[in-house]
Amino acid sequence: MLEVEDLRVAYPTRRGMTEVVRGVTFSLGQERLGIVGESGSGKSQTGRAILGLTPSPGQVTAKRLEFDGQDLRNATHAQWRKLRGARMSMVMQDPKFSLNPVMTIGAQIVEVARLKRNLSRAVAKTAALDMLAAVQIRDPERVFAAYPHELSGGMGQRAMIAMMLVTEPDLLIADEPTSALDVTVQLEVLGILDRLVTDRGMGLIFISHDLRLVSSFCDRVLVMYAGRVVEEVRADRLHEARHPYTQGLFRCLPTIEGNAGPLPTLERDAEWAI
């Protein structure tokens, strides 16, 4: 469904162009793909570049960037408008900053549904209410009429997922969708995403810094370091990862079962960044 080859994102600095994503290659089908890395590894920039959302003056180049056979590299504004929202969507980290604070949740979802699926007002409203129920909001009517500030973090994130999914996209990029949520709520939101991938055959790119969470949720994981993919592993084989960075990242996490001795720290090798 999605083919990415040698994706590069660069930003101009005083010392010339600095590449923050340096040759990322992968393909995605109907699966859950995790992208893991620490801050500054380029994982979010990769997600944004796929949707053409790299902020100016950033520059994106790629040997191949194809979604469902369409070349995205030189897509026009009109092409992007047809794709974004309708066929590929993005869920951001914090619902507080991604929802419009002066529109009700319902109005925002209806707007997306009408614009992207050309639904009539009445049909769009039904679709929005159904979607809110699908993300396990107990009282969809109340949330439909509520403003973002009236919702908790978990509710807001569900409302945002509902908004992104009301258009029934084929590809969803979720950038730290649960990092701002409490652990128990986090698992509920992941459960919703999981079901949508399974039931609708959606492709999901799950971007996160949380190695443990990603390994328990995704099928496949790309580990990024300094703008490159240093390793690709099956999620259930993460403990067998070969790259010293992945190993270090996994081991430095404290565990409940572990002893109280010092945690192994990550010794960075300058060669990883080359």
């Binding site: 620490e38 409490d182 652990v183 709520v185 698992l187 190695l211 990242l249 404290p254």
Partner: protein, 246 residues
């Protein structure tokens, strides 16, 4: 050492943040408080420092009830490290200024040596002394925040989510630093975190809070043996294992 008796905290507007909290922390112990957002765990720390509107109960240090506002002598014995190292350091003060201010307030001598020593102790070195916070990474800033708290040689350190804004590899370094400092100086820690694994690693005893109430108190061995009596604690334990399909 540190004692809380039936503490109540109510914010203006009637929001009850903490209800009937009792807590006893022994000398030299590392005590953890776990809970989700809004559970009142940070408010307990702020109440100890005199930063929250206490509406009932009392806080005792070495058996003596603390007066409000807290006297300067209190802050020489109890210091706090906050969650966000980006927000807790003054952006226009150099590290030198950040560290010398508490020394000046409390009338310490040998300030030069104390600042240099504090920077060495947290593994930064004196090269960082005249930098500004924006020239440091998140982990380095949190080390500065720890140095600032320790420069007054307190006995108790209150840690409010000290590593949740940091990357996993940096978190390991800061946790190891905190562990080493506690062993070297016989410090007492009260550590607040939403991460059960961090608390299990750092603390011998912990309590779980939910909606402003203490739901359970247990030891690290209880936690490791999955011996949680309370349903909420059990759900936190299950959640810390990651996602389970089906």
């Amino acid at each position: 050492m540190l004692n809380i008796e039936s503490l109540n905290v109510t914010y203006p507007g009637g929001v009850v943040a903490v209800e009937h909290a009792d807590l006893f922390v022994r000398d030299g112990e590392s005590f953890g408080i776990v809970g989700e957002s809004g559970s009142g765990k940070s408010t307990v720390l702020r109440a100890i420092c005199g930063l929250a509107p206490v509406t009932g109960g009392q806080v005792l240090l070495d058996g003596t009830p603390l007066s409000s506002p807290r006297p300067a002598s209190f802050y020489r014995r109890v210091q706090m490290v906050f969650q966000d190292p980006y927000a807790s350091l003054h952006p226009r003060h150099t590290i030198d200024k950040v560290l010398s201010e508490p020394l000046a307030i409390h009338g310490f001598d040998n300030r030069e040596q104390r600042i240099e020593r504090a920077l060495e102790d947290v593994g930064l070195g004196t090269g960082f002394r005249f930098r500004y916070p924006h020239q440091l990474s998140g982990g380095q800033r949190q080390r500065v925040a720890i140095a600032r708290a320790l420069i007054l040689e307190p006995k108790v350190l209150l840690l409010d989510e000290p590593t949740s804004a940091l990357d996993a590899s940096i978190q390991a370094e800061v946790l190891n630093l905190l562990d080493r400092l506690r062993a070297e100086r016989g410090l007492t820690y009260v550590l607040v975190s939403h991460d059960l694994a961090v608390v299990a690693h750092m603390c011998g005893r912990l309590m779980v809070m939910q909606n402003g109430r203490i739901v359970e108190e247990l030891s690290r061995t209880d936690l490791q043996g999955q011996r949680a009596g309370n349903a909420y604690t059990q759900s936190l334990l299950a959640a810390s294992q990651g996602y389970r399909r089906g």
